[in-house]
Amino acid sequence: MSELRERLARVYAELGQALLKPPAERDAEIEYYRLFLNPQGSPCPPWQSVWEKAEGQPPQLFGESHHRALGWYRRYGFEPAAKNEPADHLGLLLLFYAKLLADGEPAETLEKFENEHLRWAEPFVAKLKAEARHPYFQQLAGRLDENL
């Protein structure tokens, strides 16, 4: 069982990092910026509070889910290294989820985190599937879809 847990942790960590770091190949790199950080408006903003209209809040950066995610990280003794960026980036959330898995946290904890921070991934991934033009991101969307 712990082997499976370890394997899953690796998958989520890998998916998280794929969302946090642009690929090296030039066309895929351009596609990464077009999808997530486009200065002309991103089709797939990767932050939870942009997707969740939690507690009547309009889409925004650093919304409620940012504060909640920070709370999770801190309870386990961590903080995101990038201080002025939202803590609810899907990449960070997946990486942290992987950490919970790797650390052998109980299923209740994992489920609580999923409920609070991974449910929005469904519409995000659907949008990513629809928007991705480069095979790298089409594959990434597929893998996210399979694993979320």
Binding site: S2, R10, P39, P59, P80
Partner: protein
Amino acid sequence: MALTRRNWLKATGTGLLAAPVALQGFEDYFQPAAGGAPAGMTRIVTACGICSPSCGIQAWVQDGRVRFLEGLPGDVSGDGHLCGKGAAGAMQLYDPDRLKYPMKRTNPRKGLDEDPGWVRISWTEALDEIAFRMKQTVDNYGAEALLFVTLPSPDLWARFMNAMGVVNRIDHRDECFQTDTVIQKYTTGGKTWCNDFENSKYILLFGWDILAKAKLAYATGIVKARSNGAKVVHFSPNYTATSRFANEWFTIKPGTDLAVALAMIQVIISENLYNKEFVDNYTNFGKYETEIRAHFAQYTPEWAEQISGVKAADIRRIAREFAANGPAIAPAHKKSLCANYMNSSQLVHAISILNILAGTIDRPGGRYFPRMHSIPGVDAIYPPPPYPPKKGRRVDGRDKLPLVNEVDQGIFSTLADGMLNKYPGMIKFSFWNAYTILGFPNPPRMVEALKTVDFTVVMDFLPTDTVTLADIVLPSAMYLEGNDAVARDYIAKYPQTVARKAVSAPIFEAKSIAYVAIELGKRLCPDYFKTPDGSWINPATLLDEKVKRAGLGENFADFAAKGLVEKPQPFTPRTTFVSVAGADGKCQIYVPQFPAKGADPLPKWIPKRDQPNDIYPYYYMTFIPAIHRRNTTENNSILHEIMPTNHAIINPAMAKKHGIAEGQKVLVRSRAGQIELPAHLSETVPPDVVMVAHGFGHVSRAMSLAGGAGARDGDLIPDASIDDFVAAGNYAGASCIMDAVCSIEPL
């Protein structure tokens, strides 16, 4: 959630704890928490930056993030309140569409349909590239080939442009208060924002729809004036929130306020109703009495009635009331109907004369000059080496308007013509700071002009339409992310200054334009960015020094701890006014310096530029709604929810004539272009006017909320050539954004 994992979680059960395994990459993105309990809610005093009165704010901040903004008690600008825009400011701070990192295009082909292929670059790489391009441009083509579309602020940014000998710095003030700046310099002694409504007994508004614009410093003053028993009179083609609040509202043909103002001057002078004490002692009326009386005699109320549609008897009565029931005031301001026709230079001169005749310049109840803390600029603190002379041609042709050149403002409306027709290919490099093509008359022409530029940098906090044509995009910090000392200059009977303290560190890699100034300065003109001890200028040290010299505190931290510093003192009215040579310190009704600078010494009647005709039978008017600020807030999620789009607002009579139903899509055309948008029927608009709110029609992909919403009002507004302005006598360079005429048809 995927079945595989769910099943696995069930199978593993809750009690099973595996040994922790190492996780590759985790440390790249997470680090040990700093420790200590996260801070609770703290209060930070700061200042709004959405519009210029910069109302005081108390921000409630948790964990470095703004949770709530409200007005600052004791602040004179907002009187302890914020308007809707100010209160929603955090939505701008945390707008998901904000520019986040410096980016550069990888696709050399430019066009609205080209994908620029953005990639992230470091600030160093961006600044190196910009500096290289600037140097290359100056070396090959001279400083005239640089275009900076930006205000000359903050002072460090102005210093950079001065040090580089930038000739072509262009700003929007021709669409705003530029006419007032030019006129007040010569008639009363300088542009002021201060209107003492509170103590006024008669408030005369030409257009000036300030209640509907929700500029609190003014709106609150007018509300207080009404409570104090003042009379408010509003001339405006359409019925607005200000009209409703006024004691009397007169509908007036667009662009004819000048006729009414001239006739009021005629009444006041011919009946000798002016404030004799003020006029005799502090104006040049006596010296030019013959010329003045002779000039205005022609402008009778009967003449004005023919032009404006306002009854002669009403004009005469209002003129007499204005003169008799003072203190009286007639404000002149900006894009709120009054200052944007071809005849606005003359209108603003006429309004200034009315204020002078009322004798309320720098008197209680009138337009007065601000009493402010004197906050020194960078050039006073670190005197620069002499700036190089500005050599080269003004691409907007402004040198043909000497009065505008002197005040160094404008000119948006002639920029495209200069770039495309007058000096094609002259501009090789452009830097856009916090401006978008949406702010120009005829934006498609500006896009064409921008396509002719080799290299373009856009610095902004939101993705404006201009980004599409940029080579490098720089993310700008916004007002809640920086420190400053903001002196009150809208309500300033005595000095009051608010500390604008950053409530949040700049998000992602946003930086201030002052940072860009210093960094480009280091690369291109280092001598201008050193302190006397040879170190680089540091913005924080500079601000500390400003605060100290202005007497606001020991340093910025000390000032910020106080939040607000004021120095109550009695109001002592001025006795000297205009400082230009030949004015003898008096207010000038007749401006003897004008003829040498291409202007008439007294305002004369000229009609607005475009008149309704067979093809375009209607007046086209634009306005700024209360809930948005220019073209900068449409993507604010709260404000977007309140007002998501714009309409063609027309009278039901016009709708009936053309068979247009409420909400039906219409095509509005002018000689400049055409737009499609839904109609809204309202009795508040005269039957011969089509009204459209400004600020909408951002190009689709750029902003997730505002993108594609509504129509771009400017597409119907013709841009201009400088020769048009000179020929028409538009000597103060008003942009004529109210001057279009249009047709309408249902779709």
